[in-house]
């Protein structure tokens, strides 16, 4: 019995790492630029296809192809900010919502047209292998993904807390007007925030590729969990999103194990609702707002 519980927690923790990469991107964009990026899942999908093509055309391991997918998506992020999001900032919320929503639909349908709805899988030597310890098992691919996801999140935290640009980003997220008065160029900060957020989505895509099939709708699967994690972990809070993602992964896994295999989302949303009832601004929500 204990073994089953531990295994369920391990499973949840490992998938929670992937949720974290997606949700940190969403929460970063929301915190800094104050818009909700509905297209985040589609950028995960792009990251997956980049890794897929590098793997099938050039034999590059999907994990290694992080070094391509992250910069490519960083640049896409900067371009999206510069040519699209910048134009609708300062207007009311609706154009911003429709912009990222339209972007999501556009990318999704372009992918359906150009790449077809087929599933694409990459097999690496570690794809279907696992460590077996006692009665427990830890799949290689997911462990690698989890470790790298935690590493990237840690690097982001260090960046936000030690570098000037990182501090400027946090300043802009706390109070945009005051930050501007202090000589921070918001457009530059926003572009970097978008770039980093999309690079994280790209990383999630590459890390998923060894154990999850790519297809045009794949982003939708992960983005729902990411949005829940963002709210659960307090909007705009990076550490909050990380912790919430891991908690959700574990809750989902335990729910499937002990309640029913179709209860995963029920458990996750119950967790969200009860948290919001007790702490209306999420797990990390202090008295700040």
């Amino acid at each position: 019995m204990l073994e089953i519980v531990i295994q369920a927690v391990i499973n949840g923790l490992l998938i929670g790492g992937i949720y974290a990469l997606v949700s940190i991107g969403v929460t970063l964009i929301f915190g800094v630029v104050k818009i909700v990026n509905f297209a985040q899942g589609e950028f995960v999908m792009i990251g997956m296809y980049i890794s897929f093509f590098l793997a099938t055309q050039f034999g590059i391991d999907p994990i290694v192809s992080l070094i391509v997918s992250m910069p490519v998506l960083f640049i896409i992020g900067v371009l999206v900010q510069h040519f699209l999001i910048r134009r609708v900032l300062g207007l009311n919320d609706l154009p911003q919502i429709f912009l990222t929503f339209a972007l999501s639909l556009l990318i999704l349908n372009l992918a359906l047209m150009l790449l077809t709805a087929n599933y694409r899988t990459v097999h690496t030597w570690y794809s279907d292998e696992a460590f077996h310890v006692g009665g427990l098992y830890i799949p290689f691919a997911k462990l690698i993904a989890f470790v790298l996801a935690m590493l990237l999140s840690g690097m982001l935290w260090v960046f936000l807390h030690t570098t000037d640009l990182g501090k400027a980003m946090r300043a802009a997220s706390q109070n945009r007007d005051v930050a501007q008065l202090m000589g921070i160029n918001p457009n530059r900060v926003f572009a970097v925030a978008l770039g980093i957020a999309l690079a994280l989505a790209g990383a999630a895509g590459s890390l998923l590729m060894p154990f999850y099939p790519a297809y045009p709708m794949v982003g939708q699967v992960f983005v729902l969990m990411a949005f829940v994690a963002v709210v659960l972990g307090t909007l705009g809070n990076v550490i909050g999103a990380l912790v919430a993602s891991l908690l959700m992964g574990i809750a989902e896994s335990l729910g499937i194990q002990f309640i029913g295999a179709d209860s995963g989302l029920i458990v996750v949303f119950l967790l969200l609702l009860t948290t919001l009832a007790v702490r209306p601004s999420g797990l990390a929500g202090g008295r700040r707002r």
């Binding site: 369920a8 490992l14 077809t116 899988t121 099939p213 896994s253 295999a261």
Partner: protein, 408 residues
């Protein structure tokens, strides 16, 4: 369409209309090598084909279209419909976009916009049910490989030459006994109409077949991780796993079973499990996995011949829906031949009297096709298949087996 112009211009319009048509006709005749001069050529017989070639079901739909074209070519090259003066079959395709609403409008458009003798489509049951409703109302016969038992209720223009969903469940249970004498089966199924109806069929028939179901678990399709579910299967002590799943989930399930190191015989059912794409995604892990199909390319010499040609064109083996579709086209040709008419009503009557046991039209498990009053092939039965060396081999029942069972 010219309501707004009033009466005065109607004559003028008629003249203009005449001129456009006449010129168009001349231009067309010139462009296509003066077709009207060849007065002896019989009018082609129009056959409609409804398949999703875009959207989420596009994978299988595109294979169906390739097979439908191949089948029509085969009929035409063999001399067309002789009783109609060697009339050629003319396939008119329509994309139903994996969407039920589009299926309704497209079927309507296809039937009302063309003089069709018959229709075939759409492979997915949800779409076929709608297309068949529209065809019934328009009194145009529809022939389909779709397995839903609903297609055999209260319909007179719908013909289903292959095994029904209810027969699939029975075959799957019987196959469980190939692996061991006392199979303990875990049934996991996605929790919408497709999964629940199929799994309930399994549950109902299990006691009569002497199969014990130790786990019966719905899950929500499109999960991010199959590990918790497989963890549960492991705890149930099952030695066989029936998964009623869409392709995406099935890929994750098969890979996770391997990671866990769980020793269960997996039966993946039909649909997404028996198409080349499954093997492409799962690779060697697919070896030895079992499923059920309404058609398989190793059934007969005829089937293998068609398979070779299809493989040459597409690079992949002829999967169940596409293969069944070639047989269906020949059934239509047989009916047209006997009807000696392109009239849809006469074609329907000829189809209902169809009785074949040789040739391409008889490519079905059992090798015989004859429709009962409900449009069901009275000889219809599914075939049990197994992935062997990247190919699907028929292994069950004994009379349809073309390869020995591979024990894993």
């Amino acid at each position: 369409m010219n309501k707004g112009k009033g009466r005065i211009s109607s004559k003028l319009l008629r003249r203009r209309d005449f001129l456009t048509k006449a010129t168009g006709g001349v231009v067309a005749a010139a462009a296509f090598g003066a077709v009207p001069l060849r007065g002896w050529a019989a009018d082609p017989v129009n056959i409609g084909g409804l398949y999703p070639v875009t959207g989420s079901m596009a994978q299988i739909g595109q294979g169906c279209v390739a097979a439908a074209k191949l089948a029509v070519e085969m009929v035409n090259e063999a001399g067309g419909i002789k009783s109609l003066g060697g009339a050629k079959l003319n396939l008119i395709l329509s994309d139903v976009q994996s969407d039920t609403t589009v299926t309704r409008t497209e079927t309507d458009r296809l039937i009302s916009g063309n003089k069709l003798s018959a229709v075939h489509g759409c492979f997915a049951s949800a779409l076929t049910l709608i297309a068949s409703e529209v065809a019934e109302r328009a009194k145009v016969p529809i022939i389909t490989g779709s397995s839903s038992d609903m297609l055999n209720k209260g319909r007179t223009y719908t013909f289903t030459p292959f095994a029904r969903a209810s027969q699939f469940a029975k075959a799957q249970l019987q196959m469980a006994k190939l692996v061991g004498d006392s199979p303990k089966v875990a049934v996991i199924f996605e929790n919408t109409a497709f999964g629940t109806s199929t799994s309930n069929g399994l549950k109902e028939l299990a006691p009569a077949e002497g199969v014990e179901i130790v786990m019966f678990e719905p899950y929500s399709a499109g999960f991010t991780d199959a590990s918790p579910l497989i963890n549960k299967v492991k705890a149930s002590g099952a030695n066989a796993l029936f998964s009623v799943s869409y392709l995406n989930d099935l890929i994750l399930i098969v890979r996770t079973v391997k990671q866990v190191g769980l020793n269960v015989a997996i039966n993946g059912g039909s649909g997404g499990f028996v198409i080349p794409d499954f093997y492409k995604n799962v690779g060697k892990l697919a070896e030895g996995l079992q499923g059920v199909a309404h058609w398989n390319h190793d059934m007969s010499d005829d089937a293998q011949k068609v398979n070779a040609e299809y493989k040459k064109r597409t690079g992949e083996f002829l999967f169940e829906y596409a293969g069944g579709l070639v047989a269906q086209t020949f059934m239509l040709a047989d009916a047209l031949e006997r009807a000696a008419s392109a009239d849809p009503q006469k074609v329907r009557d000829a189809l209902s009297a169809l009785d074949v046991s040789k040739g391409y039209a008889a490519m079905a498990p059992g090798g015989k096709v004859k429709f009962g009053p409900d449009g069901k092939n009275i000889y219809g039965r599914p075939v049990g298949v197994q992935w062997q060396n990247g190919d699907l081999a028929s292994i069950f029942p004994k009379e349809d087996a073309r390869a020995p069972l591979m024990k894993s």
